[in-house]
């Protein structure tokens, strides 16, 4: 039985390797399955593979990009607690996604950041509050390899939104490609502040706290990444 066990283990590791895994995963704190992945999975299950054009086998129709692997990375960054927060700033957070799991053979074809807010964050009020979201890219290292949120950052996105929005999407394909190309991923800085007014109408500290309570329900950020591994696609194999 010991020999059989070793054989089984060898077979398992061979198959896991062909499936793109270094070892049998054992999720410790599994995140909920993102709804977009469920939707794509269910759609593929409904459409029998033999009826599908082989040319589409390694294409993600939902995003209209080539790819056979879709990953959703959970954000591993922390909230930044500044001792002197800038006026009107509700939230400052580092976003970090560990893309090192992508294999060398994989080419990245799409990366989309999703910032989600809790459904409970909307309080019906007569005045519709507008917030401003800014997404920075850290581009400079400071001591001990910790990226600075303040220095050397480049504005990627600046966008106003109302609290009615539950989810915001940003195309980060170019950024993610550069993270991989240069092998240096310092993450992003996300800032959300109260917007839509001039300095004269800026709220007091107490008012700011009340207004910001609406975005305190900031729930999660995740990065959806589509990659193509041509070694595992029939169309690519037959072309070779």
């Amino acid at each position: 039985s010991a020999v059989l066990g070793m054989e089984l283990s060898l077979q398992e590791s061979l198959l896991l390797k062909s499936l793109g895994l270094s070892a049998k995963p054992s999720p410790k704190s599994p995140i909920p399955v993102p709804s977009v992945l469920w939707r794509i999975f269910q759609k593929r299950k409904m459409l029998p593979a033999p009826n599908k054009d082989p040319a589409d086998a390694c294409r993600v129709e939902e995003f209209n990009v080539p790819g056979n692997i879709i990953r959703v990375f959970a954000d591993q960054g922390h909230f930044i607690h500044s001792t002197q927060p800038p006026r009107l700033l509700c939230l400052q957070k580092r976003l970090y996604f560990n893309l090192s799991v992508l294999e060398e053979d994989e080419s990245l074809t799409m990366a989309q950041l999703e910032v989600k807010f809790s459904h409970n964050s909307y309080h019906a009020s007569s005045q519709r509050q507008v917030f401003e979201l800014r997404l920075y890219r850290s581009s400079q290292m400071v001591l001990r390899g910790v990226p600075s949120p303040e220095r050397g950052r480049k504005l990627l996105v600046g966008q106003s939104f109302a609290q009615l929005h539950q989810s915001l999407l940003f195309n980060l394909t170019g950024v993610a490609k550069e993270w991989r190309t240069h092998g240096r991923n310092l993450g992003l800085i996300l800032e959300i502040s109260v917007g839509g007014g001039d300095a004269a109408s800026a709220p007091t500290s107490e008012g700011l706290r009340n207004v910001c309570a609406n975005v305190d329900a900031f729930l999660a950020a995740s990065l959806l990444v589509v990659t193509l591994n041509p070694q595992q696609c029939g169309a690519a194999r037959s072309r070779r």
Partner: protein, 114 residues
């Protein structure tokens, strides 16, 4: 042919049903969906003469002819998958990310004598 039992249609090379359950191989903790799937397998005889239904190659036809002349020295062709289809699997990877991956060659659709 007198040395072999007669080949009935049910003994001919064709796909047989095989359901693979991921819990049976101890993968239920990290594979989210599907919990299993109909993978199938090929089994059956590739007798002389090979017919068109058996998805044979020219080589396999010649091999059965030689086999019929020299059963000891030359085996019959093998009954193997000739068309497979992909499935998608939703799972947690080694870093607890959720992954949806398209895997080719996972389901046996057709068998043939090769």
């Amino acid at each position: 042919s007198a040395q072999h039992p007669p080949v009935t249609p049910s003994n001919l090379c064709k796909p047989r049903r095989l359901y693979i359950s991921f819990s049976d191989v101890g993968w239920e903790n990290w594979i989210i969906a599907p919990q299993g799937y109909m993978a199938n397998y090929c089994l059956g005889e590739c007798p002389f003469p090979l017919t068109a239904e058996l998805n044979s190659t020219n080589h396999a036809i010649l091999q059965t002819m030689v086999h019929s002349l020299d059963p000891e020295g030359t085996p019959q062709p093998c009954c193997v998958p000739v068309r497979l289809s992909p499935i998608s699997i939703l799972y947690y990877d080694n870093n607890d990310n959720v992954v949806l991956r398209h895997y080719e060659d996972m389901v046996v659709d057709e068998c043939g004598c090769r």
